[in-house]
Amino acid sequence: MKENDVVVCRCEEITLEEIRSWIDKGYKHFDELKRILRVGMGPCQGRGCRDIILRELSRATGEPISALDPGTIRPPVKPIKAGLCAYGEEVASK
């Protein structure tokens, strides 16, 4: 498998190639890629892909990873069933 075919964001099934092509088009912030490709918005909230994407952005912009904005992480951090939020009770799986 070529490096470009690697699936970087498993939640949203986005490959390294797609990420690189949008960075090449000029979208050089994590927040922009997140809005265009939904990377980092899946059930894992970016645990699986954020670091790799930041590495790609760092490579493209020459900025160190520590200088890049990693975007916002929103609650609930672990997916939770709607019924539990509403009634505070566990509900059987759909």
């Binding site: 916002t72 709607a82 799986s93």
Partner: protein
């Protein structure tokens, strides 16, 4: 375009209205157009919205503009170059009523819409149950529905306009906040952005709720205020084209989006009046209760995350589209929570105003002076 810091038109704010204006101005042949956005395109209200597209309004001008928007959306992705996928879907928009008062208002709105050839209708609870068997209609009196209404990806829409404008030669400067507007005498002369002066004889203010502090930098009062609103998104489930379903009585709504996820939202008058998009702690319980009452089988669906964004509210919940008393400065802001869908018409109006053309719809109701004159025209289909 030259490297000089001058332009024929400067646009402040890269939400859907600023990006659309940049596109329509360039398309109409304006030479130097510069758009300033403080973060990325769609980072304000536009990208944080529920992205519902509807023709259900209760004032004629909004219905006319909304009808035009829905005429544009089906071919817009192609027109804007196709790079950004707009995810336009027409799964309909349903307004349900639990009180006679709400139902009477919905009936009035639908009558107006029908008189303007908008294909909306009123429905009984029985008819709703027949069409959408998964809805719990207990306690509902009726609803208004338009099957041509729908959804669009708000980030893609805004970025697609920005991209298309750029391809036509506009300068789209992201991560470039405008510090202040510049005026001399009673004339706009440009802006200061990141410490640099840019000059232009015309400046368009499309900064949503941020338009107010920006206008204040030259002493102009705008009655647009921020109000935080919350949304959440669930994991995707098999799409079944669930329409946007919204309740006038408690301000709660839900809809499925093309990838199968659901959005839930709910108004809360106690939310802070702020442009900061923080997280509301009590939002989850309230919104899930309201939504699950209407669509109980979603109780096992997992919520992935919540977010918030600022509404851009005016005293009558209507936009301000007008030349201001400062010569050369015009606004398209204050859409009061329903502005995303007006990108196509808002952009077209901004272009027509730039050229001094007769606007394609009469927009005198949107004038800025209405607040001083006390001639408000409240939008009843405001949520």
């Amino acid at each position: 375009m030259s490297d000089k810091r001058t332009a024929d038109a400067i646009i402040v704010g890269g939400g859907v209205h600023g990006a659309a204006a940049a596109y329509y101005l360039k398309k109409a042949g304006v030479k130097d157009v510069v758009l300033f956005e403080k973060e990325y395109l769609s980072s304000g209200g536009s990208g944080r919205s529920a992205a519902g597209l509807r023709q259900h309004f209760g004032t004629e001008v909004n219905c006319r503009l909304a009808k035009y928007n829905l005429e544009c959306f089906p071919t817009l992705e192609e027109e804007l170059g196709g790079e950004h996928k707009l995810e336009f879907a027409q799964w309909g928009y349903l307004w349900v009523a639990y009180s006679q008062e709400s139902m009477t208002q919905l009936e009035k709105n639908v009558k107006l819409q029908q008189s303007l050839d908008i294909p909306s209708e009123t429905l009984s609870p029985q008819e709703m149950k027949r069409r959408w068997s998964y809805l719990n209609v207990d306690g509902m009196i009726g609803a208004a529905f338009c099957g041509k209404d729908g959804h669009i990806n708000p980030h893609a829409l805004t970025m697609a306009y920005g991209r298309a404008a750029e391809k036509l030669g506009a300068k789209v400067l992201t991560y470039s906040p405008v510090d202040k507007l510049l005026a001399s005498g009673n004339k706009i002369t440009g802006v200061v952005a990141k410490g640099e002066e840019w000059s232009a004889p015309r400046v368009l203010l499309t900064a949503g709720p941020w338009s107010t502090p920006l206008a204040a930098t030259i002493g102009l009062d705008l009655p647009v205020t921020a109000e935080r609103h919350n949304l959440l998104v669930t994991e995707p489930i098999e799409p079944f084209n669930c329409p946007m379903t919204l309740c006038l009585d408690d301000g709660a709504y839900f809809k499925q989006v093309p990838n199968g996820s659901f959005f839930f939202g709910r108004d809360d008058q106690d939310e802070p009046k702020t442009m900061e998009s923080g997280n509301s702690a009590k939002f989850l319980e309230g919104v899930t209760k309201s939504v699950l009452q209407r669509i109980p089988f979603l109780k096992g669906v997992r919520i992935v995350h919540q977010w918030s964004g600022p509404y851009d509210v005016t005293p009558d919940h209507q936009a301000i589209i007008d030349w201001t008393p400062v010569e050369g400065l015009w606004t398209n802001c204050g859409w009061s929570g329903h502005g995303l869908q007006f990108g196509p018409s808002g952009g077209r109006l901004a272009k027509e105003m730039f050229f001094g053309e007769k606007t394609f719809v009469d927009i005198h109701n949107f004038r800025l002076s209405r607040f001083a004159e006390g001639d408000l025209f409240p939008e009843p289909a405001f949520i």
